[in-house]
Every structure is written in structure tokens, then in C-alpha cells.
């Protein structure tokens, strides 16, 4: 028995010793960032027919890759269903999960993750057929609802219908395509997801015009990137890339003018772009990390507008996602 204990302790010590390389080292050695995204959700992360990924969640990973490698294309995207995404991050198959994932306490604590910020403040909504003549979610008693499994939506449904003393039937599918197909074919009266995603999904229906989104928003869904527990430097790197994108917008640094702004007289801009201070070193990068990210991908506002904003096919207003200076919730922590 003693010998087994010794052997086991040896194995343990070994594995503990080996596991010490940091995520950043791994990413650099690999030459690419492994980024978990959706299997296709326009505006957030979706591949075109040539396999090029676009969306705000995709652009965030590109910004990280630009900060590390000075090349926004050094990203390997792993499409994940809602159900499988957390296992992929826990097991180390991906370095960061950037997949419209709601920041909740249990995910942050018991699943062993750290959320780095909120790329998009959202809330859960409902879509129904116009022909049902329904104006409010309060009229949904007895409805059949299609939802994707492994989401916060499954749980919110339970809360909302119980709180309002209504009954419902939930059909949970593992992929978004199956969920949408079932709703489209009439299996369900209602499709539910984050409201932003409903607009994206509406575009996929046979007759987008036959469906309406109900006014109620039944939950808080702060969507953002997350990493594994246990590597604080990597967590910092992801978190501060997000803040850098916000600060860039606030300070008027854009993809176009970033190179000139390096010589700006504004000390805040200088610290952001690395012409003053040694802030990049703190996250294991060179000091112009944020300059690289903004130059290649744009600031937060540019990313938002390009992918989901009023001029994109989704046509979503900034709303809660405006900067704090404009009455929204987006607030970049100071770089100093």
C-alpha cells in the first residue's frame, strides 16, 4: 500500500510540475490563439462560405491575436454548441471562450472560469408568429417553446413562467439550426433566446416578415469572453484587451488614426498606445499591444457598428452598449 501511495504521489508531483507553462507561452509556441465561438450566429460569430469568421465575438479574439502576434489572423476558431462550450474551455481545448456567453455567478465560480468583461449587454426575449395575434409575453400560457439546450434561457423560462403562474412546454435542441428548424416548421409557438440573437435568427427563417419579437425582456444577459481559473496573467491580458478597445473608443482612437495618435499630446492616449509607460509588460506583451489591436480590428464602437450596428444586416441600436459617457454601461477601466 505504501508503495502505491508513493507512486501516486510521484505521478501527482509530476503532473503538477509539468502543468506550469502559462497559457500565453502555449499560445506563442503554437503560433495561434484557440478561440471558442458559436456554430454560426450572424453578427456575433459566423463563418462565410469561404470559412472566414466575422462578428463581434470573433473580432474580440482577433484583437487579442493582434495584441499578441501583431497579426489579427493568427486565430483558430472552434465552433461550439451552447452545451459543449464549457467543457472545451475547462479541458484546455480553447484558450478563450468568446461565444455570447452570459456572465453568471455559478459559471464564474463553480465551473472554474473568470469572465473578462461584457462585450454586449443583452436580455432574453421571445419571438412568435404574427398570425397568433399576441402582443405580450404574458399571453404565452400553455405555449410550446423551442430553446437551445445548455443556455441560461432554459433556466429563465422556468423562472418566468412560474413567477407569472403560466404553464409551458419546452423542447430543447442541442444546436441552433435544429432549434430554428423546429420553430420554423411549427413545432413550437415561441422561439426564445437573447434578444440580439433573435434578430440574427429571424434573418434565417423562411419568411422573416411573418414573425414578431415581443416587447418583454425577461432577464439580464451580460455576454462576454471568459477564461479558465488558474492563470492570472492570461486573465489580465484578455480583460485589458477588452478595456483597451473601450478606452480607444472613448479617447477617439480609431483603426484609421491610431498610427498618428501615437504622437498625441494626451497622456491617456499615450499610455494606451504605448508611447508612455510600460503597461504591456504587465501582461507579458510589448508596450504597443493595444495599438496593434486597435489598428487591426478597430475600437469597441467600430467593432459594434461593423457587426451588429444600425448599418449591419442586424441593425441594432447601441442602447445599453453605449459608452458610459453617452449614457450607456460600457466603461473601460483606466490604463495607468
Amino acid at each position: 500500500m505504501k508503495r502505491i501511495l508513493i507512486a501516486a504521489a510521484g505521478v501527482l508531483a509530476l503532473s503538477a510540475g509539468v502543468a506550469k507553462a502559462t497559457t500565453l507561452d502555449d499560445v506563442k509556441a503554437r503560433g495561434a490563439l484557440n478561440c471558442g465561438v458559436t456554430q454560426g450566429l450572424p453578427g456575433f460569430s459566423s463563418p462565410d462560405d469561404k470559412g472566414n469568421w466575422t462578428g463581434i465575438d470573433v473580432d474580440f479574439c482577433r484583437a487579442v491575436a493582434a495584441a499578441i502576434f501583431n497579426d489579427a489572423n493568427k486565430v483558430r476558431f472552434t465552433p461550439l454548441s451552447a452545451k459543449d462550450r464549457f467543457t472545451a474551455l475547462q479541458s484546455g481545448a480553447i484558450d478563450v471562450l468568446s461565444r455570447n456567453t452570459t456572465w453568471t455567478m455559478s459559471r464564474d465560480t463553480t465551473l472554474g472560469f473568470n469572465f473578462a468583461g461584457v462585450m454586449y449587454y443583452d436580455g432574453q426575449g421571445f419571438m412568435v408568429r404574427k398570425s397568433l395575434n399576441i402582443k405580450s409575453a404574458k399571453e404565452l400560457n400553455g405555449a410550446s417553446i423551442c430553446v437551445q439546450t445548455g443556455t441560461t434561457h432554459e433556466l429563465n423560462l422556468g423562472d418566468y413562467f412560474r413567477a407569472n403562474n403560466m404553464k409551458y412546454e419546452v423542447i430543447a435542441f442541442s444546436t441552433i439550426d435544429e432549434t430554428v428548424k423546429a420553430y420554423d416548421s411549427g413545432r413550437c409557438d415561441v422561439f426564445t433566446s437573447d434578444q440580439s440573437q433573435i434578430y440574427a435568427i429571424k434573418l434565417k427563417l423562411t419568411n422573416a416578415g411573418d414573425h414578431i419579437v415581443l416587447p418583454e425582456v425577461i432577464s439580464k444577459e451580460p455576454l462576454g469572453p471568459l477564461v479558465r481559473h488558474g492563470d492570472d496573467q492570461w486573465f489580465d491580458l484578455i480583460k485589458w484587451t477588452y478595456y483597451a478597445l473601450l478606452n480607444a473608443e472613448e479617447l477617439g482612437v480609431t483603426q484609421k488614426n491610431a498610427d498618428q495618435e501615437v504622437n498625441s499630446a494626451n497622456p491617456e492616449v499615450k499610455r494606451l498606445l504605448g508611447s508612455d509607460g510600460k503597461f504591456g509588460e504587465g501582461i507579458g506583451l510589448s508596450n504597443d499591444w493595444a495599438l496593434r489591436a486597435v489598428k487591426q480590428v478597430g475600437n469597441y464602437g467600430e467593432i459594434f457598428d461593423r457587426n451588429v450596428g444600425p448599418n449591419s444586416p442586424l441593425g441594432i441600436q447601441r442602447g445599453l452598449n453605449k459608452l458610459w459617457t453617452q449614457g450607456g454601461l460600457q466603461y473601460g477601466m483606466p490604463i495607468r
Binding site: A143, E154, V170, F173, R187, H229
Partner: protein, 429 residues
């Protein structure tokens, strides 16, 4: 060791490496210790890693409330119940589809297997086509096919297809009138009017049937049913003993059927038919009341049964072909009719060839039921290894439990089938 070696005063001989029995015992012991040590090390390592990453572990989560809804529940369930309860709901859903699937697949499989040996060219060709098509399309594809086909073909709840005694009697009445039996037609339609609206509906939310509500006195009917079954057993034994003794036949099958129907009927009449039916009614979006069979279940059950039946058909055919033609000829020369020859001579001998591969088809069907995830059927895999795993993040515990459950189901199936196999196996004399 042997007495001789002990008496010979050669104790070292006992530990000699040249003794193959001892050597293998020692080696196996060492291997066993090594494997246990490895398993322990892996477990400890996993535990330490989970703790370091701050991932919860242990089985305490089974008591936490699940929070999500489930579309098909054979036992009462609500969101406020525990993950443990959700696990049970999923397990029962898996068992339901596997059990019914095995029964249906066996029936179709035997029919098609026998049909492939038919002398009738058309039947033979149809059976061959069935086998080739169902065996060669992936089961996932077949599940999706049935789901989409079922959903696409059916109307929404407000335009449901209604079935019941009333439409049936009306149709019969029309038919009677059409062939010139006007009074009978009128009588049938009048009788139809005494029934309410139809109680069975079919739409893209599933098949809705009335729910029987058992009132006081229904236990008498239940008792009558049990009594009938007991009587049938007694009857069968008596008939067999009489046949062996006197050679006289007794129509056991028909008598049993009559007992099974008549006894409960008498009890029902005596207690004033204590069963009421809760009829489904269209309320808002869906039907309320009654029992609903959801399309996800229907699609999965159809696909699994039809797919597996293709394999079973081949197994049955091979089994029958394996019985030598001499057996059939011998039976015929004894004067047995072809039907009896099949039942009493061929099938019992074919069974011992059929059962072992049949068992693995049953296991395949059960395991394939996990493909129901694709159409949103809430089986154990979807509910537990899917939603619960995602919600709690406790992959190791949940995968271990899920594996243990499927393993147990498979082993139990195998035990039952082996027991049956031993019973029907040919006893060599």
C-alpha cells in the same frame, strides 16, 4: 502445493518461478495492484486539478434544483425539483423508448425475416427492399427524416385531425347508406350522435388521447384482470398435463383470450364501469388534458424500430435457413401442417442461432436512443450528460454515472437474453 512436495521437505519449491501456476498468480496479482494504483493516481490527480481550477466536484449537485423544464415526464417533475429527479425522468424516457423500440423492432424484424423466405415473389422483393433500405441509411438520418416528415405532414393544433368513435360511426353510416342499406346507415349515424366530439387528435404537437381516470371500484376490475391471468396459467398447466397423459388437445389460446376479455368486462358491468375519460380540449395554443405523445418520441421510436428491424430480419432469416431441410421434411412426413412445422419444429431450432445476435441488436437499439438529442427528445443522455453537465460543469461525475447506467442496462439485457437462450437452447441428448 501438492502433498508430495510438502512431504518431500522442499519448501523452496513452493515459490519456484518454474511453477507456471504460481508465476501467473504472482504476475496477475502485481498487475492488479498496478492497475488499482493507476486508477487511484488518476482519480487523485483529477481531484487535485479540479480543486486547483476551482471546479466543483462530488455528488452533492444531485440535490440542487434543476431549474429547467422537460417536455416528456413519466413521473411528476417541475423545475424546482432536483437534478437527481431530472436524472430519473431522463432514465425513464430512455427505458421507455428502448423497451417499446425493442418490442416493435422484434415484431417487424420477425415478420420481414420470414417474408424474405416467402415463395411469393412480391412479398419477398418487398422484404428485401425493406432490409436494404433500412440497414444502409444511418440511424441519425432516419431519425431526422421521421421528425421532419412527421412534423411537415401534420397540421397545427387549431386544425388538428380528430379521430374517435363518432367520425368512425359516421363514416360507416355513410358507407351503409351508399350501398343501399339506408335504415342501417341512419341507425349508425344516430348512434354516432350519442357520442361526444372526438377524443383523439393528431397535430404537429403530437398525438393527444383521453386520459383514463380510475374511480372507486376500478380496483375490482384490476383484480378481475389479475384473476384472469392466474387462471390462464393454471389452465395452461392443466391442458399440458392432460395432453401428455391422454393426447387430447385443448384450445388454450382462445380460452385464454376469452378469459382475459370476459372477466374484467363482467367486473366492469358489476361496478358500473368505474372508468371515466378526461378528454383533451383545445385551450389557447395547445390541447389541455388527456395524454400527449410528443413528435420527438414518435420520430425516435419509429426510426429506431425500423432501423433495427432491418438487422433483426436478416438474423431471423439466417436462423431459419440454418435449420436443415430434413427437419421440415420429417415434420411433413409426420403429417404436421406447414404452420405447425414452422412453429413447433423450425422456429425453436432457429432460436438458438437467432438469440445471441438478437441480443446485440437490442443493445444497439438502446445505445442508439442517445441520438434522440438531435430532435430534442429528453432521454438520459440529453437531460443528464447534456443539460445537467452543462449547467453544473461536473463532467467527471456525470459521465461516470451515465456510463454506469448504460452499462447496467446493457448487462441486464444480456442477462435476461442469456437466461432465455439457455431455456430454448437445444438440449443435446
Amino acid at each position: 502445493m501438492t502433498d508430495a512436495s510438502l512431504r518431500g521437505g522442499e519448501p523452496t519449491r513452493r515459490w519456484s518461478w518454474t511453477d507456471p501456476k504460481l508465476r501467473s498468480l504472482v504476475l496477475q496479482g502485481l498487475l492488479g495492484i498496478f492497475l488499482i494504483g493507476m486508477a487511484w493516481a488518476i482519480l487523485a490527480n483529477a481531484q487535485a486539478n479540479l480543486a486547483r481550477q476551482g471546479i466543483a466536484s462530488g455528488f452533492g449537485f444531485l440535490d440542487n434544483s434543476a431549474g429547467f423544464g422537460i417536455s416528456q415526464t413519466l413521473i411528476p417533475y417541475s423545475e424546482s425539483m432536483s437534478y437527481g429527479r431530472a436524472f430519473l425522468v431522463g432514465l425513464l424516457n430512455t427505458l421507455l423508448v428502448a423497451f417499446l423500440g425493442i418490442i416493435i423492432a422484434t415484431i417487424i424484424g420477425f415478420l420481414v425475416g420470414v417474408a424474405r423466405l416467402s415463395d411469393n415473389v412480391v412479398i419477398k422483393a418487398l422484404a428485401s427492399a425493406y432490409v436494404e433500405v433500412t440497414r444502409n441509411l444511418p440511424p441519425l438520418f432516419q431519425i431526422m427524416f421521421w421528425y421532419i416528415a412527421v412534423l411537415a405532414a401534420l397540421p397545427n393544433p387549431r386544425q388538428s385531425l380528430g379521430f374517435g368513435i363518432q367520425p368512425l360511426l359516421n363514416a360507416l353510416g355513410d358507407g351503409a347508406a351508399a350501398i343501399g342499406l339506408a335504415p342501417l346507415g341512419a341507425a349508425l349515424k344516430g348512434f354516432a350522435a350519442s357520442f361526444g366530439t372526438p377524443g383523439v387528435f393528431l397535430n404537429n404537437r403530437g398525438l393527444v388521447i383521453p386520459r383514463p381516470l380510475f374511480e372507486a371500484g376500478s380496483d375490482v376490475v384490476g383484480l378481475a384482470l389479475v384473476a384472469a391471468i392466474v387462471l390462464i396459467f393454471v389452465l395452461a398447466r392443466w391442458a399440458k398435463r392432460r395432453r401428455v397423459a391422454t393426447g387430447q388437445q385443448f384450445p388454450v389460446f382462445w380460452t385464454s383470450l376469452a378469459l382475459l376479455i370476459v372477466l374484467p368486462l363482467i367486473a366492469g358491468a358489476a361496478t358500473g364501469f368505474p372508468v371515466a375519460f378526461e378528454k383533451p380540449e383545445l385551450k389557447g395554443f395547445n390541447f389541455a388534458g388527456g395524454i400527449r405523445v410528443i413528435p420527438e418520441f414518435v420520430a425516435l421510436l419509429l426510426a429506431l424500430s425500423i432501423y433495427t428491424a432491418g438487422f433483426i430480419a436478416e438474423i431471423v432469416r439466417a436462423g431459419i435457413v440454418s435449420v436443415s431441410k430434413g427437419q421440415t421434411e420429417a415434420a411433413a412426413s409426420l403429417g404436421l401442417k406447414p404452420g405447425l412445422t414452422m412453429r413447433l419444429v423450425v422456429i425453436p431450432q432457429a432460436m438458438r442461432v437467432i438469440i445471441p445476435p438478437l441480443t446485440s441488436q437490442y443493445l444497439n437499439l438502446t445505445k442508439n436512443s442517445t441520438l434522440g438529442v438531435a430532435v430534442g427528445y429528453p432521454d438520459l443522455f440529453a437531460i443528464f450528460a447534456g443539460t445537467t453537465l452543462n449547467q453544473t460543469g461536473q463532467a467527471i461525475e456525470i459521465i461516470a454515472i451515465t456510463m454506469a447506467v448504460y452499462l447496467t442496462i446493457s448487462i441486464l439485457t444480456t442477462i435476461v437474453m442469456n437466461w432465455y437462450n439457455r431455456r430454448v437452447a437445444l438440449v443435446e441428448r
